[in-house]
Symmetry: C2
Subunit: 453 residues, 2 copies
């Protein structure tokens, strides 16, 4: 990949200028008025891919923003890498907190500031640049397909449908995605896991109307008290979730895997300071990194009932409600967990109340084992450019489309992201380190090389 | 009291007409525009008391509605009954639910319909009528004082201050009050207890900002979960409140007293049906009547935190809050209970959160022992007119001014009310049974007679 790296070194300025062109298009998927910008971004990408050297580039219209597909098949016998990225961005509000125009990128202190600088225009465009470098240098070692969508920030609904009907077109050995972060520039990492989600609303109804807490209090089950009991009963003192069957089939990490996770530079003290908490708390027997990455959770995301205005009102409300999120890890199926939660709450609810459970949405957890060819290729590529073997990182968040790819296309993804937590994605003044942008472009060809061996 | 009863029988129609005059005055204390009506009601009462035969009647201005004071001292050596009532009424909204003008009383199905028909113009005016009957018949057996206020529905603030500065004027052996209900016309009762109240707001703060439940979930104490734990931990499975010291010095009812309470016609099945609950629930070892009358409670009256809009938001909130009401019974001091609650929550809060407790307001519980001269007099009087011995009734609600009288004036009250639960006080279409109105007027003279023995 010597020629490829030389090509990258020579074309750095141009790549950055091209990224700036893309960043200037305000492709906000959640705001209908930006539909023409979505189309403009899709067309810009198609043109850029054609210039970069694909055999075929096509815009697939959908009921939402278009999907850009492109491919270069050099030899059907060789492996195929399917690159996924998204060209839509989040809205920019609160606008007044931006220190420069979100759609007029500027460089400051070695960072690109713009909406989408990291997520995911910056990270996505690295793949177009790296592809061009390999093609122009005659070093492309395998087949490449691109699948670029404009709906990631609003749920990838159209892409999901499109994948269902284009399975053959999308046939590949691996999906390569740069839409995640590293632990740090000095601590490269590969995201190996994403948590899933089962989210329900639990409504507890007591008496058929609000009652006077003096005249009835003590003789009637108060739905707020009962809801609190039911929530409290669902996790024990050791932070273990008591829902029967909840931990069944869960993927238990080996001592070796946990030792790898523990290598990440992480300090409980710094963590506590960063969010101003007096103490950490979580499942017994696991570290903070493990608790937020590889273990499931039971969190109430919202609760309400009774009088919530100023002052005091002495009322026993008729209804109390909670929104409950359980984050899931490998081995847990969100539909089954939703069922277990439902049965659990129905079982522990006293006869003095009735309950109603409304499942909201779910997400499948994702895990990328570290002993695969793709992981090893990404690891070797990063070690080459960063001079350090990357650590496996298990993120507590979810990128639902990744599980969707596995489910529909039957293809695993490798999450080789180059962002940093400090990039403020989704927030005002989103940025992307120039170092990350360039290191990313340099790293990608090594992945192709290793993966094609 | 033969002549008195004859006088009452002869003057029934006039008493009703006079009550109607009072009911036509829209003396709503909570609406400033009705201040002239308040004054009109006070002057009407003063004139009526003068006509009824008091020695002295006076309007005491206050910073709110006036207080009407009147007295007839027949012999300083004889006992003195201090009659308390209030001439202010609740607002009438929602106005559209009234089937007749709230300030134009009508008789329908043996009931007077009007705002204040029961609470407390109807019940209060019985005392003026009974007094007149005794005076005109030459059968008044003791001294009488009247203290009529216009602020009961908004907290009796001015009366409280006025009592402080008129202790000598108000010297009496008993305060006689008709502002409560009976179990039924066929089940007369005397209200012997009112519960007190300690009301606090408990705020739990976790991280210094809302966090993403995916990226942080499992590693950070969720303030909603913690709040639920703390609430749940405050009552055990037997419905016992676990706050240390909570039950100290509580008045424990004797087997005899509990047997009296059990005589009230009360059915758990009917109770369940009336509020559509699947089961009753409360403190182990006590009946429903006892749970809502003579035992303290721990009820969450309001709770809120996190995302409470439509759909799902995956957030660990920074703050969760609950409004907690504890109803108190004889022996419990609301200031001490507030202190105990504060210490309890501070002790059980984990180090992972901080808490803030804001006491809202409190009320002193009140108990009228059944072995006093006043209780026995009321019991005998009611038995004479209703043909049945009244049952002691312990109400779960609160009438704060009753405890205030005991605290400031050192005088016990006897709650000889003639209302019924079906009177819909504070609601549209408030009514008062004609039977109750007349039986009340007839009963009062017997109380005077028995109490003066």
């Amino acid at each position: 990949m010597k020629k490829t790296q030389e090509f990258i070194a020579t074309n750095k300025e141009r790549f950055l200028e091209e990224l700036f062109e893309l960043l200037r298009i305000p492709s906000i998927s959640s705001i209908a008025a930006h539909a023409p910008d979505m189309q403009r971004a899709a067309e810009w990408l198609k043109a850029k891919l054609e210039k970069a050297g694909v055999d075929r580039a096509e815009i697939f219209p959908t009921d939402g923003p278009a999907i850009v597909y492109a491919e270069k098949i050099i030899d059907p016998a060789k492996p195929t890498v399917l690159v996924y990225a998204h060209y839509d961005v989040m809205p920019t509000d609160p606008a007044e907190l931006w220190t420069s125009d979100p759609f007029e990128p500027v460089i400051k202190d070695g960072k690109i500031y713009a909406r989408g600088a990291d997520d995911d225009k910056g990270q996505g465009y690295m793949h177009v640049a790296a592809f061009e470098a390999m093609v122009r240098s005659g070093e492309l070692p395998c087949n490449v397909k691109f699948m670029l969508e404009g709906q990631e920030e609003i749920g990838s609904g159209e892409l999901t449908k499109w994948c269902e009907t284009h399975k053959e077109l999308l046939a590949a050995d691996i999906i390569l995605v740069s839409d995640t972060s590293m632990l740090g520039l000095a601590t490269p990492s590969i995201t190996c896991g994403l948590r899933g989600l089962a989210y329900i609303e639990l409504e507890v109804t007591g008496p058929n109307r609000d009652l006077h807490s003096g005249l009835y209090g003590g003789a009637v089950a108060n739905p707020i008290n009962i809801l609190c009991d039911m929530i409290s009963e669902s996790i024990d003192k050791d932070g273990k979730i008591t829902v029967p069957g909840f931990y069944d089939n869960i993927y238990e990490f080996s001592a070796e895997e946990r030792a790898e996770i523990a290598k990440a530079p992480f300090s409980d003290e710094d963590f506590k300071k960063s969010i101003n908490i007096g103490d950490i708390q979580g499942e017994k027997g696991y570290t903070t990194m493990e608790r937020k990455g590889i273990r499931p959770t039971f969190d109430v995301c919202g609760i309400w009932g009774g009088y919530i205005g100023e002052g005091a009102k002495t009322v026993i409300p008729s209804i109390a409600t909670a929104k409950i999120s359980t984050r899931l890890v490998a081995g847990q199926d969100f539909k089954r967990i939703t069922q277990l939660l439902t049965e659990h709450f129905e079982r522990i609810a006293p006869k003095s109340v009735t309950i109603k459970i409304t499942p909201s949405h779910g997400g499948v957890p994702y895990i990328a084992p570290t002993d695969t060819k793709a992981y090893k290729a990404a690891s070797a590529a990063i070690e080459t450019t960063f001079g350090k073997k990357p650590l496996p990182f298990y993120s507590g968040g979810s990128i639902p489309i990744i599980s969707t790819f596995e489910r529909i296309l039957g293809i695993k993804s490798i999450l080789m992201g180059f962002g940093l937590d400090s990039d403020a994605i989704h927030s005002p003044n989103e940025s992307y380190q120039l170092d990350c942008f360039y290191k990313g472009i340099e790293t990608i060809p090594y992945f192709y090389k290793e993966f094609s061996k």
